[in-house]
């Protein structure tokens, strides 16, 4: 049984997280309250889920700039789907508030969720195919998908940005099970699932090889096409799921959401130990990365720091972490 060595970056992230946690707990009683911690985990779960997908793509040496837009599109499409609009480009606008909570889905539940995620994630399949077969640069392809998906999300709401959804989806966004937020449970389960995949399956190993050593991947006959498509498909599946869960947080679908999520997911993945050149990273690290970003903004809000100053500090933290990571890396033995 292969034993995965914990990358030093993951331990760095968790030590950093630990010290910051202790420090913030000392200076703010509000911060260390169980309600705040529960809020923090709940709030970061959606980013966390999206980051897992992003990390898998980064592992292959690629990038997925469409995460935020797919989140928005999936949320909007799901809202349309539960009203029966499976393939309607511009469904008629509804007076939503009056129907809030009274919407009963046209299709029975697991179907709507699965179908919405499945359909939207076809965009990920397309990306994977283009990257693998056409050698298209992931940056540009996913950028194009991002613009497309965002535009589609706006179109599907007939210019009216908001819809409402049934209560059970909202409950996912705000309730807890045994004191742990439901969203966090989902997030952790997905981390475990994908970690197992990366550690113990040949698919997982191949993901590392394709990113870390593309020539070797070709030479050893790895199914580059299949693995790449899987990576981008996973990213869009998780982004779609995250988008639908976000709809629960707002009890409505909105094509405007998640505009900053893509970059945040990239930052979290890198802080968590994933190298942008591929082939390196451990999903447990992304837990740390996502929480680190969340904790900083959380304490700054509690301390009533100006929003723009919060952004400055957040940027400094990201720069600082990247500097630490780069300083700690051994020089690359292969050419870029």
């Amino acid at each position: 049984m292969t034993r995965v060595v914990v990358n030093s970056q993951e331990s760095r992230v968790f030590w950093g997280l630990f010290f910051l946690f202790v420090f913030f707990s000392l200076i703010s009683p509000t911060f260390r309250s169980s309600e705040n911690l529960r809020n923090l985990f709940n709030q970061q779960s959606i980013l966390g889920i999206a980051t897992i997908g992003m990390s898998v793509v980064i592992l292959t040496g690629g990038i997925d700039l469409s995460v935020g837009s797919i989140m928005a599109l999936a949320g909007v499409y799901y809202s349309n789907l539960i009203r029966g609009y499976m393939f309607t480009y511009m469904p008629p606008f509804m007076k939503v508030y009056e129907e809030a909570g009274k919407v009963s889905p046209v299709f029975p539940e697991p179907f709507s969720l699965v179908f919405a995620v499945g359909l939207v994630s076809l965009l990920g399949v397309l990306t994977g195919l283009m990257v693998a077969k056409l050698q298209a640069p992931p940056f540009v392809v996913t950028l194009g998908i991002s613009v497309f998906a965002r535009g589609l999300a706006y179109s599907m709401t007939s210019g009216q940005p908001i819809f409402s959804v049934p209560d059970y989806i909202v409950n996912a966004g705000f309730s807890t099970v045994a004191g742990v937020p439901v969203l966090t449970v989902i997030w952790f389960l997905i981390v475990v699932l994908f970690s197992f995949l990366l550690k113990y399956s040949s698919l997982g190993r191949n993901l590392y090889v394709i990113g870390g050593n593309p020539e070797a991947a070709k030479l050893t006959g790895i199914n580059t096409l299949g693995v790449t498509v899987f990576a981008y498909w996973s990213s869009s599946v998780l982004a779609a799921l995250a988008g639908i869960l976000l709809v629960g947080r707002m009890a409505s679908a909105d094509p405007r959401v998640a505009s900053g999520t893509t970059l945040e997911a990239i930052a979290a993945a890198v802080i968590g130990g994933f190298s942008l050149s591929g082939g390196k990273g451990n999903l447990v690290g992304t837990l740390g990365g996502v929480l680190l970003i969340g904790i900083i903004i959380n304490i700054l809000s509690i301390l009533n720091v100006e929003f723009y100053t919060q952004q400055v500090i957040k940027g400094l933290v990201i720069i600082g972490m990247v500097a630490l990571i780069s300083a700690g890396e051994r020089p690359l033995t292969r050419g870029l």
């Binding site: 509000t30 508030y97 210019g159 998640a258 509690i302 929003f307």
Partner: protein
């Protein structure tokens, strides 16, 4: 040596945290979940809120969501955690806060919504009557054009409630009384001056001489359109906006192209909201004639060359 230093540091921090905990106890806390701070309109709200907080001797906790609904949900959760006694909200979207507002309601915290409308449980909404603003401009434009002409409309965001009112009210008046006035096209410029200018340039390229008047949903975009018109040498095309921004007042006073605007004063709105909230906290009552969940309308006055001097204040933030 280091160990001793660390222990001292930890003790100091613990002391600090307990002290700050004690200091926090007495004052009333008013939370303000703000939509953005990226233009004078929103900045004026912040400044007024700070003034009012000082006036009443309460603590103001203002958090800025910078146009992201997810951040605003987090902001409200944080404000709840910090034990605010009341909440002012300028929501990023109308529907996105419903679930978190449920949490606010469960804690029994009174909420006043300002400027942008919101669906959810709240005490009162304070803002202008957007539809009436549109109607006022519709009347003014109808008379100005003598009942006939072509308008270019520059709106903010698709589906935005202010836009629905400012555009809808205009159209209502036009269809009622001035059927020969046509809206050639509607451009989106996100309430932003630079985008307003670009939209106007596009309109000029598309319609040129056919344009008889430009109506923008806010003064910032109108001022941008003004720049574009001047650059194109179209200096006799009237421009109308909404909001009552002081730069707009200056233009109106010049008596040239910029003809009118409608007051939508952020300071007035914020001050009123604060007053209502404080009165409710102190007496449990709402002002005369206002019911729970109802609206308090401010401003919504048409400003033209005739009355602009009354409203112009060079020292105002907005």
């Amino acid at each position: 040596m280091v160990g001793k230093g660390v222990k001292v540091l930890v003790l100091m921090l613990l002391l600090l945290s307990t002290l700050s905990g004690i200091a926090e106890a007495k004052q009333l806390k008013i939370g303000f979940a703000h939509v953005a701070l990226n233009c004078p309109y929103y900045l004026a709200m912040k400044a007024t809120a700070e003034e009012k907080a000082k006036e009443y001797g309460v603590e103001l906790l203002l958090l800025n969501a910078e146009n992201e609904i997810e951040k605003q949900i987090k902001d409200i959760e944080t404000l709840l955690l910090q034990g605010v006694d009341a909440l002012i909200v300028n929501p990023v979207t109308e529907y996105g806060l419903r679930p978190v507002m449920q949490k606010v309601k469960e804690k029994g915290i009174p909420v006043v919504v300002i400027d942008r409308p919101m669906y959810g449980d709240y005490l009162v909404y304070v803002g202008i009557d957007q539809w009436q603003a549109g109607r006022l401009q519709g009347e003014f434009i109808g008379q100005l054009l003598g009942g006939k002409g072509n308008i270019i409309e520059i709106a903010g965001d698709p589906g935005c409630p202010a836009g629905k009112g400012r555009g809808g009210g205009l159209r209502e008046v036009l269809s009622e009384k001035y059927p020969d006035i046509k809206i050639l096209a509607t451009y989106m410029a996100h309430y932003n001056k630079a985008e307003g200018m670009k939209a106007m340039e596009d309109a000029i390229a598309a319609y040129g001489d056919k344009i008889n008047l430009v109506y923008a949903h806010n003064d910032a975009m109108a001022l941008g359109a003004l720049d574009a018109l001047r650059a194109a040498g179209m200096t006799n095309i009237p421009v109308c906006g909404v909001d009552g921004q002081k730069e707009a007042y200056l233009e109106i006073m010049k008596g040239e192209q910029y003809k009118s605007t409608v007051i939508n004063n952020p300071s007035e709105i914020t001050a009123k909201a604060f007053d209502i909230l404080m009165e409710y906290l102190q007496t449990g009552k709402l002002p005369e004639g206002v019911t729970k969940g109802g609206k308090v309308i401010t401003g919504t006055i048409l400003v033209t060359k005739e009355n602009v001097e009354r409203y112009y204040d060079p020292n105002s933030i907005f």
